[in-house]
């Protein structure tokens, strides 16, 4: 059961921001995470539903590369603009939860909730996502990497909303998203890798890799990216670069029981993705 609470449905950003600046509130969009979180709680703050704000609603082709926080996962997964220009993100969104969750859950909510297993976050990171935050008194833009502080913790202040998320297309890059789950459907990612790779037959030109579900915060594997970009393709070099990332993960979170299976799989997944075919 949900506790009793009030929920307001403002029609403009100005109205939302003034509500947030004056009250203890929680922003709700799809509600697929928030309403689960509120179950069996004694009380809830005032909810501010942002889904009726016309300034936050646009078509993807009107503002290419600018994501509305209200775009649902289902919408992004099916949208020709995202499928063509940001395929890693479209694939990741098609894997979220179930069709019902995808029809309600939003990109803004996925970022704001900041789950280590959020499917949309690694692909947003490879497209160098920048998040525009608005409050009654201020406007600022943070990279998604800056915004995410810890598991379920972000830099978003209580008086701020996500107004938009800008991403950069990676033209000429091989792009995708792979994840490991315990079962096929309705499952959380146990390990996820978003990638965009620019390459020639014999050489990696530019490599972008983001990894989710193995650390409290999804991250760009910058050490691996630096080690491989502009390098002749070589199996030993690739394994060395992967080892850098794996030792970074170990350094960050220490020994974890699940890493006994996750890290060897991550190594194989990265080999497959970066070698661009079968490793064996």
């Amino acid at each position: 059961m949900l506790p009793k609470f009030k929920c307001v449905v403002p029609r403009s950003i100005k109205e939302v921001l003034s509500l947030l600046s004056e009250n203890e509130c929680k922003v709700i969009a799809g509600g697929t995470d928030l309403l689960v979180e509120l179950q069996d709680k004694e009380a809830a703050p005032l909810l501010v539903d942002i889904t009726k704000i016309s300034e936050l609603i646009w078509r993807p082709e009107e503002r290419v590369g600018v994501i509305s926080p209200l775009f649902t996962h289902g919408f992004v997964a099916e949208s020709p603009v995202f499928k063509d220009m940001f395929p890693s993100l479209a694939i990741a969104c098609s894997k979220v939860g179930s069709p019902q969750i995808r029809n309600m859950g939003t990109i803004g909510g996925n970022i704001g909730n900041a789950s280590p297993a959020a499917d949309s976050i690694p692909p947003l990171m490879i497209y160098d996502a920048k998040v525009r935050l608005l409050s009654a008194s201020n406007e600022r833009e943070l990279t998604l990497e800056e915004l995410l502080v810890d598991a379920y913790k972000t830099q978003i202040r209580k008086d701020e909303i996500i107004a938009s998320v800008s991403i950069t297309p990676m033209e000429g890059y091989r792009q995708g998203y792979k994840r490991l789950t315990i079962r096929e459907a309705l499952a959380l990612s146990r390990l996820s890798v978003a990638y965009a790779i620019k390459e020639e037959k014999e050489k990696w030109l530019d490599v972008k890799i983001a990894i989710g579900s193995v650390t409290p915060v999804c991250f760009r594997a910058r050490e691996l990216e630096r080690a491989l970009s502009e390098q002749i393709k070589d199996r030993d070099l690739l394994d060395e670069a992967i080892a850098l990332t794996i030792s970074r993960i170990r350094g960050q979170v220490g020994a974890r029981e699940t890493h006994k299976f996750k890290l060897p799989i991550l190594k194989n997944l990265l080999r497959e993705i970066l070698w661009g075919g079968s490793w064996e």
């Binding site: 949900l2 697929t32 309705l186």
Partner: protein, 140 residues
């Protein structure tokens, strides 16, 4: 239809407790089982995770819509013919997901059907009959 609802009431509670539409079931209450599925503007959603006030001015379909003319729709007939109804608890949600899929522009295959009902659990585990019933209607 116009109704006054309290802010914290879910669409599931509105449908069952205020409107007596008990075909919409509560299973898990946290968006995992699909028994509470309804169509919001023809797309499946979990009514247990949707505040009633969010559907103001929008179209909600429950399984009653499928037999609104007093006879079973094609998809319901196919469920009966294929033995796709066992205890019946998941059936309204399964039918609505099947209906939404059949009416979408998607090219339907067995994998697409499985994906479309992946948010609905059948604890009698009668999935094969359900998939066969949807295949019948999709003519594949």
């Amino acid at each position: 239809m116009e109704l006054d609802v309290e802010d914290h009431i879910t669409l599931l509670e509105l449908l069952r407790d205020k409107l007596n539409i008990t075909s919409v079931k509560e299973g898990c209450g946290i968006g995992e089982c699909g028994a509470c599925t309804v169509l919001l503007d023809d797309k499946p959603i979990y009514s247990c995770l949707t505040l009633a006030l969010k559907v103001d001015g929008r179209d909600i379909k429950t399984v009653e819509y499928l037999s609104k003319d007093g006879s079973l729709s094609k998809i319901q007939e196919a469920f009966v013919k294929n033995g796709a109804v066992q205890c019946g608890y998941c059936t309204p949600g399964m039918l609505l997901c099947a209906y939404a899929l059949i009416n979408s522009k998607k090219e339907i295959s067995e994998d697409v059907i499985k994906e479309a009902i992946s948010g609905n659990l059948c604890r009698c585990t009668g999935y094969i009959q359900i998939i066969e019933a949807i295949k019948d209607v999709a003519q594949i």
